[in-house]
Symmetry: C2
Subunit: 239 residues, 2 copies
DNA sequence: CGGTTGTTTGAACTGATTCAATCTGTGTGG
DNA sequence: CCACACAGATTGAATCAGTTCAAACAACCG
């Protein structure tokens, strides 16, 4: 897979489920076996209804390419994106209905399996549950960091932090590559708990300060170290 | 255990680990077996250092009585409480170090076991991992709701929502009982992403509106239905 | 080309923070 | 029982960050 200087997130097709899981730390043999689980691949279009909140979520999903979001809305219909799933990330099935919905941020290829089939594979070797519990731990660490972000940082830091996280989680090398921003400013607002107007102003500020510059959807990181400082971003929580 | 009209959270001693896990949905036989895991009980004092962020977290903990918090702080030392553990809740061990710390909100009795012992028990029956994954799911659902709270609700709703969640998770029957508020206003601020000054004003507002009244630490809910509405609180996410 | 979606900008407004002072309750030691 | 210390709660005034509303602009797509 050639890696050009500008790889949009949605073009980064995962190398395949087994490879992805191996990269995440699952033993190759088990990853191979896991891939045998019955599954189908679905193309999910951005901002189109995909899975609504409040309905049974008896499927496993793995993001093969693209970017998914989990979202909720509060009583007054204000929308909050509560989690992201990048290439290689998954959404595990749960007992009963989920109170969050799922939508694509960009066009995504998603592998979907049935809960029973997933459960059967997981039960077949204790190593699997160890592995998936570890993945759940990682996502919960990310949730915690998002809480700190929403609760304790100002708007500049919040937006910048999301940018840093996006760079890391989509494996962009800022020294050589730019980031094709997958989000609309409204979506960034839905993640950071702001309004799109304010997100826009933060971007303008960052540009004015010479930390980034933009060309369309493309974001160039002109001072990565300073940007991380502004965001109080430390990548530890992602590993 | 006599249940008087005013039971402080820290007096609600859990009925024992096995009973708690059974109540949470684990088969009685497995709960019984789980209790055999080597463990010790520790008393944790409020606001005293207990587990610092950034160190190995190779223990399981279960809250026997009291109330624990997980916290992080952002780069500038501003503290954010990212999760609560009520009686019967647990904190699972993780690979490597945790980026959150643990502190008690009120004096708590905590059962602590070693990661290896926990792993051994969990590996002994696939039912255990199903069960603990379900618990992790529940906590992640709570994290999501907290994100909505921090990101999308105004200060009144945020504080009120926390009150509602506390009532539910500590099994207070608002029709008959009051809640002994376990938090200082600073801690409520650390959970909701505010300042203690503002939390204080919210409480004053709620009282002025006749939704609650207070006597010392004690909170009486004078209009529970309206309070839930103000908080856009729906208890679904807790189950 | 026209419609749609997203971005950008300005001006007025408001909710929350900050700073600082005061008040209250609790526990301690004399 | 009082004096004192300390932590938390309460209040006011000034300030500021972020929202809201509204309008203009740009990019994209069939």
């Amino acid at each position: 897979m050639a890696t050009s200087a500008t790889v949009p997130i949605d073009a980064k097709v995962g190398a395949g489920l087994a490879e992805t899981l191996t990269a995440a730390g699952l033993k190759p043999a088990l990853a191979k076996r896991f891939e045998q689980m019955p599954q189908r691949q679905v193309t999910v279009l951005p901002r189109r209804p995909f899975r609504e909140p409040g309905v049974a979520r008896d499927e496993v999903m793995f993001v093969r390419s693209g970017l998914l979001s989990k979202y909720k809305s509060d009583g007054n219909g204000r929308r909050q994106i509560v989690a992201l799933r990048f290439v290689g990330d998954g959404i595990l099935p749960r007992q009963g209905s989920a109170d969050y919905g799922v939508q694509a941020i960009v066009r995504s290829e998603v592998l979907i399996g049935k809960r029973e089939d997933f459960a059967a594979v997981v039960d077949s070797d204790a190593e699997y549950s160890r592995f998936f519990m570890q993945l759940m731990e990682r996502h919960s660490a990310i949730s915690y960091e998002w809480l700190v972000n929403c609760g304790r940082r100002d708007s500049t830091a919040r937006v910048t932090h999301l940018l840093c996280e996006t760079v890391e989680r989509s494996h962009v090398d800022v020294a050589k590559q730019s980031l094709i921003n997958p989000f609309t400013q409204q979506q960034i607002a839905d993640i950071t708990g702001h309004t799109s107007v304010n997100v826009n102003r933060v971007f303008a500020d960052l540009e004015r300060q010479g930390l980034i510059h933009r060309k369309g959807r493309e974001i160039f990181f002109d001072d990565w170290a300073e940007l991380q400082r502004v965001a109080s971003f430390r990548a530890d929580y992602l590993r």
